[in-house]
């Protein structure tokens, strides 16, 4: 019996070395552990042995059985997972998802930055009265300053000709809010605006603006600077700098145009790099918005006492901000809605 077990073990070891696939291992299982195996025969002989030898041989056989079972199962498990391994380099499953338009995303982002400071978002109307778009904002009739704000007039019969128009900026919503509610006020107002410009890579007869303003007793120019610096650092990066350049707008005094330091060439780092920068064209600065202290005439037009209250206001073009931030070079891409464009801004 002992020799037979030993022979069997040696034979098993030889076979086990050679068997590699799950199928070969299955054959070994049957050969060594099956009902007709040598092993089964040996087990069957146990009752024929002398009483005192039965338990010894029984234990030995069982130990042997356990050993080969675990060897076989171990190797089988390995072989199976080996077989399951696949090439992981082919293309993945394509997932289509919905997306928000980059202009609405940017508008919402801008508004939310100001909301966190305490501003309230209120959209104005796109169809405006002449007075709100111009006179109330200190843009007199037939003044050269109106040229920058040319707009579309609505055809509503001779009687009201020239009275209604599509707003050419979001500033009229300032007037609407100030007429409806008394200070203190802090409002941000996004929306579509219209100007009769021929469409090209940088012009569109419809575009988007965000207007913001604050009116309270102790508001000053330093507050305007602080609020806008906070905004650009939240929106672009906490490393950008702001530059306020004196400018003229009829509705603010003093007025400023605001540039951010170019976040592409990072300005000044390498004089040569700045010169080559295609984004800021070597200037190191990018114009992003206009602002100023609300003109006393504008406050007065809204029935607010300009002796008591001061305010600041700012306005920016959403397209311009998005173009700068994302490196978009043609404004028409925003309205063409090419899926190849849209999906770059998936949720």
């Amino acid at each position: 019996m002992e020799n037979e077990i030993k022979g069997l073990e040696e034979e098993f070891q030889r076979d086990f070395q050679e068997a590699n696939s799950p199928k070969e291992l299955e054959i070994l299982k049957i050969k060594y552990l099956g009902r007709k195996s040598t092993f089964a025969e040996l087990f069957a002989r146990i009752p024929t042995l002398a009483k005192e030898e039965r338990s010894t041989w029984g234990k030995k056989l069982n130990a042997f059985k356990q050993k080969i079972t675990s060897l076989l199962e171990g190797k089988e498990g390995q072989a199976k997972s080996e077989e399951e391994r696949i090439d992981l380099t082919p293309p993945s499953v394509f997932l289509e998802s919905g997306s928000r338009h980059i202009l609405t995303t940017v508008s919402e982002k801008i508004c939310s930055i100001f909301e966190k400071l305490g501003f309230v978002t209120i959209e104005g109307k796109e169809i405006e009265e002449e007075w709100y778009n111009f006179e109330a904002l200190n843009i007199p009739l037939e003044h050269p300053s109106r040229e920058a704000f040319d707009t579309f007039y609505l055809d509503i019969g001779e009687k009201d000709k020239g009275k209604y128009l599509l707003r050419s900026h979001t500033s009229p919503s300032q007037i609407r809010v100030m007429q409806a509610a008394k200070p203190p006020l802090a409002v941000i107002s996004p929306g579509r605006v219209y100007r009769p410009d021929q469409v090209d890579a940088t012009h569109s007869f419809m575009f988007h603006q965000v207007e913001g303003f604050v009116v309270d007793e102790d508001i000053n120019f330093a507050h305007l600077k602080g609020v806008l610096l906070h905004f650009v650092r939240e929106f672009f990066s906490n490393k950008v700098e702001l530059r306020f350049r004196p400018h003229f707008f009829p509705f603010t005094e003093p007025s400023a145009e605001v540039d951010i330091s170019c976040f592409v060439c990072k300005r000044k780092k390498e004089e040569e790099e700045v010169k080559k920068c295609s984004v800021c064209k070597g200037k190191g600065w990018l114009e992003i918005l206009g602002c100023g202290m609300i003109h006393p005439k504008v406050l007065k037009a809204c029935g607010i006492d300009s002796k008591k209250y001061k305010g600041f206001a700012f306005g920016m073009g959403v397209e311009r901000i998005a173009m700068l931030k994302y490196g978009i070079e043609d404004i028409r891409l925003f309205y063409e809605n090419d899926v190849r464009f849209l999906k770059q801004f998936s949720l």
Binding site: F94, E96, G98, S99, R100, H101, L103, E115, L117, G118, V120, T121, I122, E123, E126, I127, E142, P144, S145, E147, F152, L154, D155, I156, V177, A181, P183, P184, L185, A186, V187, P190, Y194, Q198, F205, M206, D216, N220, F221, A222, H223, K225, G226, V227, F244, R245, P246, H247, F248, P254, E257, M293, H295, P296, Y335, N337, D338, V339, L342, L347
Partner: protein
């Protein structure tokens, strides 16, 4: 406007480097958009804002540079040259409102030729083209003082000079060779027989200075900005001269400009000054005294009070400054600055020279009137909804609000047209979002999706206003549009999306009502009570062809103002902890009968009914023609106990029985 640094040196010695000067000017509000070296000269290209007419001259720019660099300006005013009136012709101003002040000069015996090099250089470097010595001198004078002048060939003038409005159908051929028909909008200079100039804008060909010109009539005048603006707009042109007149020119400098030009013409062309004539009165600007409180100025800008600094800066800008009290000064702006009218204008003058960069950055504590809030507006509502629709796999688009008037109908709405559209394709405000959507789909079907894996499968949405006229005025309605292309899905996908949106809005009492809409084959209106929230439908084949769409279009639109009003509060609803049990029924239904009928029966009989769904549509041969077959799965559930099989069977049998009594419906 372009100016040359060498020209500036006529008034001011500048020792700042051009690059530094450009940056100083930019930071004081005169934005230098370009800077180039031209021989020994530097050319600055600046943006002049509409309030600073005084920067449209070398003198004005020099004054600014002097103020910024703290230097003194050296101006040699040419003064008056001749003391005698000429008597050869009269000058008659019809309306002093159009032209308050006019100086005519006569210079005889000139020789017209090309200008000297220095004069040509001055003009060229300021962006103008040299013509001949006479014209170049008038341009030189305009650039230098800001007052546009005009030289006529005196021998081509007939009789007196009139400054008057054009008569109907009078016309003028300008020195640019173009003929323009004039009207009462146009102020003209005329002699006794003809129009010789469009006042302040352009001279006429008929009296132009040419090589053969011997005698000159030199015009210097102040014209009303508004008159020149209207006139040049009516005539459809914009010149260096009209640009300045429109923004106002200085009456104070007029004599100097005229005098210097006359003197130069005599010097450089060999002519002789033969007298002048002044008509009208030099407009006198009242001196304006503005009282400034230093503490108010500082508080306005967010600075510590800086009295000395304020005085110094204003004095550099040629303001007269007088101390009034400890905190108060009285300032008088220079004659050249009629844009300075009130305190804030002075604040700006101070702050732009002081430097905006020296003003600190502070975040204010924002107080707020509580009557306004984010909830008062649709903005956040639209954002939430857009996020939901995007989560449902739709891509947001933005399309133009302007459309062609004729394209616009789905429902009857009063369209708002434009008076001055750029093109007929965009001559009205849209009443729906269908056509912008269709255009975007077409673009993608034709261009993007060819041969790509997406292949015509699209889900798009837009949230934008639609516009119409109503009795109460103009309506701007925030609107949601949804589109699914034929390859992406069909009507029931779109209907499912709408149900999802309505459930998000917690609007549960809505119903779909079949209706007929222009341009749709099949459509449902979504109603809540008497309110119509919107519609969904399949675009008909004719429209699909007209819009050149390669795929079917399933389109829906919701009125978001009504949705926002109808929207309900979300409340937690407990759900059953007992199992749901279902039973299936296979049905064949006559095609003329709507599924709605089955739904009514099930709902009427449904004890413990929690829902139903079509699990299978059968298309085998054994279905009688004119019938459709499907299997319906009905779910039963109690909130109080586990329903037994026999209980469910009895409920289900009641439904089966009712259904079997329905005409045109067979249970299989």
């Amino acid at each position: 406007m372009r100016f040359s640094l060498n020209f500036i040196q006529e008034f001011l010695k500048v020792d700042t480097s051009p690059k530094e000067l450009a940056s100083l000017l930019t930071m004081a509000g005169m934005e230098v958009e370009g800077l180039e070296k031209e021989g020994s000269d530097w050319i600055f290209d600046i943006e002049v804002t509409t309030n600073r007419y005084d920067w449209l001259s070398i003198l004005g720019i020099s004054r600014e540079i002097a103020a910024i660099t703290g230097k003194k300006l050296k101006v040699n005013y040419p003064g008056s040259l001749t003391k005698f009136n000429f008597t050869t012709r009269d000058i008659v101003i019809e309306d002093k409102g159009d032209c308050p002040y006019y100086i005519g000069r006569r210079i005889e015996g000139v020789g017209v030729s090309a200008s000297r090099a220095w004069l040509q250089e001055r003009i060229l470097n300021c962006g103008l083209t040299p013509v001949n010595n006479i014209v170049d001198i008038t341009n030189y004078s305009m650039l230098k003082w800001g007052n546009p002048l005009h030289a006529f060939d005196a021998d081509k003038l007939e009789g007196n000079i009139y400054i008057r409005r054009a008569k109907k159908n009078e016309s003028l051929i300008g020195i640019d060779g173009k003929e323009r028909v004039l009207g009462k909008e146009n102020l003209v200079i005329a002699d006794s027989k003809k129009v010789i100039a469009l006042a302040g804008i352009i001279g006429a060909k008929n009296t132009e200075v040419t090589e053969t010109t011997k005698n000159i009539f030199l015009e210097a005048a102040v014209f009303s900005p508004l008159t020149v603006r209207r006139s040049r707009r009516a005539a459809g042109l914009d010149t260096e001269s009209s640009y300045r007149f429109e923004r106002a020119v200085s009456p104070q400098l007029l004599e100097h400009a005229s005098c210097e030009a006359a003197k130069l013409i005599a010097d450089l062309s060999g002519g002789k000054n033969k007298g002048y004539k002044v008509v009208g009165k030099k407009p006198q600007l009242p001196e304006k005294n503005i009282t400034i409180s230093i503490s108010s100025l500082s508080a306005y800008l967010g600075l510590e009070p800086l009295k000395l600094k304020v005085k110094k800066i204003l004095e550099n800008l040629d303001f007269k400054v007088k101390d009034l009290a400890k905190d108060k000064i009285v300032v008088t702006p220079p004659q050249s600055r009629f844009d300075i009218k009130r305190e804030v204008d002075v604040y700006e003058e101070f702050s732009r020279i002081y430097g905006y960069d020296k003003i600190p950055d502070q975040i204010p504590f924002l107080k707020r009137n509580l009557t306004i809030s984010n909830q008062a507006d649709y903005y956040h509502f639209k954002g939430e909804l857009a996020n939901l629709v995007a989560l449902l796999g739709f891509k947001e688009i933005i399309t133009y609000s302007l459309e062609e008037k004729e394209q616009l109908t789905i429902e009857d709405r009063d369209v708002i047209g434009l008076i001055n559209p750029l093109r007929s394709q965009e001559n009205a405000l849209r009443t729906n979002l269908l056509f912008g959507m269709a255009r975007s789909l077409r673009h993608n079907f034709n261009r993007t999706l060819k041969g790509t894996s997406t292949q015509g499968r699209l889900r798009l949405f837009e949230i934008a206003d639609t516009y119409s006229k109503s009795k109460k005025g103009f309506l701007e309605t925030p609107t949601l549009a949804l589109a699914i292309s034929g390859k992406e899905g069909g009507f029931f996908l779109l209907k499912g999306v709408l149900e999802k949106i309505l459930s998000f809005l917690n609007i549960s009492n809505f119903e779909f009502k079949e209706g007929s809409l222009n341009n749709f084959t099949n459509s449902l209106r979504i109603n809540v009570g008497n309110c119509n929230l919107g519609f969904l439908g399949k675009l008909d084949q004719q429209q699909k062809k007209d819009l050149d769409l390669k795929e079917d279009l399933f389109f829906a639109q919701l009125d978001l103002s009504i949705c926002a009003k109808t929207r309900g509060q979300k409340r937690y609803k407990p759900f059953s902890s007992y199992p749901a049990i279902w039973r299936d029924i296979s049905i064949s239904l006559k095609k003329s009968i709507k599924f709605e009928e089955i739904e009514k029966i099930i709902k009427a009989k449904g004890n413990y009914l929690t829902g139903f769904t079509i699990i299978d549509v059968y298309k085998g041969k054994d279905i009688p023609s004119g019938y459709k077959a499907f299997t319906l799965r009905i779910f039963y559930q109690s909130t109080e106990k586990t329903l037994t099989s026999s209980e469910v069977d009895s409920f289900h049998n009641q439904i089966r029985q009712s259904l079997s009594q329905q005409q045109g419906l067979n249970l299989r």
